[in-house]
């Protein structure tokens, strides 16, 4: 092994002792999946700018830093008082993951109810059927190297299985807390949510640092919704301003299922999310509200792919971006309507508010339609703060900085309002104001 030469490369990561231990743990039911992915991984190059999907988003940071895999041992040093500031959501089943690993001492007891299977990846001895486990890595094709890397080196995560008709009575909150180390840490949260026919749940997924530090979160979430299943999914990314964050989300929807996603990406020096929804059964419905913040020198990228495969499905995607300083937003929204997907109803929009002329937006909404009887539209706007609105607020006694914040919060009202949990909604609104504060 030549660790030195390999620092900052895929093969270098695979050679780290932590990776070797993961890829040789014969008692781990994940091992065959890990090995398969590791094999794929070695064949996959890092994404390059000449690939359309990565044209505006460089992954050079990965080679420039020597990321160390988070140790396999759970991080036990934290106490509940250390993360108190993050415990805002009330009345959730909270599972805390520290540096990728489940931290039972910080978490609520796992919910127990008829029809509910739940366990962590690290503790396979849970209540989840083997058939559910098998779905892991079957919903998400490995489209790029980071997805394969996640499967090969998944740190920890939850397997949630809702049997037919089961309703989770409180939201499941997956709170990822990252504590910096001397070397930048690499962590791979991995979750699988499987809802059988008519099941219903809310999931909150949060990423928060404990102090500013350098690290790279590479998360992957798979969701499978059977006929008539409903999932409300709230994702809040507040990573450290020095961190990189990529999260891939794959959702498969059967007939009449209903998936609601609200995703607020606020933090990180470099942040990207790839969201892929497949509407595979008739009359499935999906709604996506996104909020992207790019303050000075932040990159925030969202790739959204919605595949209307079955007829009569509807989807609405609305993503708002706010940029400040030298912030950059990349949005790529792609609605694909298959030939069989007649009577598709799809609306995609991306609106951007630039608080600075040095900021940059690269937005690309696309419709690719092969059916002939559909209702589809897309639209994009990029604008500056309206001077008449600013003056109106100032003429009422509100100073220019506060006026700007109020207008930004107003611009982001739709995605903020889509956040169900009131305390989280307020937190996002406050953070939005703070991150775009006074320039």
């Amino acid at each position: 092994m030549n660790i030195d030469a390999a620092a900052g490369s895929i093969s270098g990561v695979l050679q780290q002792p932590t990776a070797q231990a993961m890829l040789n743990a014969s008692d781990d039911w994940l091992l065959p999946k890990r090995k398969l992915a590791a094999g794929e991984l070695l064949e996959m190059p890092l994404p390059e700018r000449k690939q359309e999907a990565w044209r505006y988003t460089s992954t050079a940071f990965f080679e420039e830093q020597s990321f160390q895999l988070a140790p396999r041992e759970p991080f036990r040093a934290l106490e509940i008082s250390d993360i108190e500031d993050l415990l805002v959501a009330e009345d959730t089943y909270r599972m805390v993951f520290v540096n990728g690993h489940f931290a039972p001492q910080l978490s609520d007891r796992l919910p127990q109810m008829q029809g509910l299977g739940i366990e962590t990846l690290s503790n396979g001895a849970g209540t989840v059927d083997a058939s559910v486990r098998e779905q892991l890595a079957s919903i998400a094709p490995h489209r790029h190297v980071f997805e394969a890397m996640n499967t090969a080196l998944a740190s920890d995560g939850v397997l949630l299985h809702l049997a037919a008709g089961t309703q989770l009575d409180k939201p499941l909150e997956l709170l990822h807390v990252t504590v910096g180390a001397e070397e930048p840490t690499l962590l791979h949260p991995r979750h699988l949510i499987v809802a059988e026919a008519g099941a219903k749940a809310q999931v909150i997924e949060r990423y928060c640092p404990l102090g500013e530090s350098r690290y790279f979160t590479n998360a992957l979430i798979e969701v499978s919704l059977a006929e008539g299943a409903q999932l409300q999914h709230q994702r809040l990314q507040e990573e450290s301003s020095e961190a990189q964050h990529i999260s891939d989300l794959h959702v498969r929807q059967q007939a009449k299922s209903d998936y609601r996603l609200v995703q607020a990406s606020l933090g990180g020096a470099w942040s990207r999310s790839d969201v892929r929804l497949e509407l595979l059964g008739e009359q499935a419905r999906a709604e996506v509200d996104g909020l992207l913040i790019a303050s000075d020198r932040q990159l925030n990228d969202m790739h959204l792919e919605v595949r209307h495969v079955a007829p009569g499905c509807s989807s609405r995607e609305s993503v708002k971006g706010i940029l400040d300083g030298k912030g950059r937003i990349v949005f790529d929204g792609h609605i694909h309507v298959a030939r069989e997907a007649q009577k598709t109803d799809a609306v995609l929009s991306n609106d951007n508010l630039m608080l600075s002329r040095s900021a940059e937006v690269d937005t690309k909404p696309q419709l690719e339609i092969f059916a002939d009887d559909v209702k589809c539209s897309h639209g994009t706007t990029v604008g500056e703060l309206d001077q008449n609105m600013l003056f109106y607020l100032r003429s009422r006694g509100i100073g220019p900085i506060q006026a700007q914040r109020m207008l930004c919060q107003g611009f982001a009202q739709q995605p903020i309002d889509a956040i169900q949990d009131e305390a989280l909604r307020e937190r996002v609104s406050r953070q939005l104001a703070a991150r775009l504060g006074g320039n």
Binding site: D386, S395, R396, F411
Partner: protein, 251 residues
Amino acid sequence: MLSIKNLQAQVEGKDILQGLDLDVGEGEVHAIMGPNGSGKSTLAHVLAGRPGYSVTGGSVDFLGSDLLELEPEERAAAGVFLAMQYPVELPGVNNTHFLKEALNAQRRARGESELDSVAFLKLVREKLAMVEMKPELLKRPVNSGFSGGEKKRNEILQMAVFEPRLAVLDETDSGLDIDALRTVSDGVNKLRDPKRSVILVTHYQRLLHYIQPDYVHVLANGRIVRSGDKSLALELEEKGYGWLGLDEEAA
């Protein structure tokens, strides 16, 4: 209270106000009338400090301080309120939140304590009844989707909540039907106070049937060319601006 001397102002490099003099005493209501393009709205916006309106000469003294030195928000805190001809829609900004933030910003700037939610809501309910505005408009984004009358009423509600020393009403009557005009005027009349002065900017005499001014001034080519009491407005209505040797522009 307000003393404007030889005020000159430009908009987009064009001279609009060309030596305007006006004194407004405490508790007085002054109507500023004049044909389109005479500079009425420019005066209103210059007083409120709108960017893009540059003062090139003259002075404005308000309660002993130089008004022109103040930022728009400082003028508001000092007690100047401009009810706009075209109130701006603020999508996503909740009306109640806006009113509370604005009132408290003004109070902070004056060194007064902020109102908490309970005290604020009590105040707003009271003022809402005074201007006969539907309470549900408070829950909506500021002016968004409001009818013309609702927007104007919302301006008067703000005036009632902020309790300014000087209210400048810019064409408050424009776009209002008779019923709306009456309720808006009633609101303004209820807010008349020996300590509060009002400048009514209007093209038409009709508003002055409802809000009786103490003084009427005619503005033309950026100057006040005639001043009098309310009978001047009646004369104008009868004879038109042409009577003063002014071009009558179509409304």
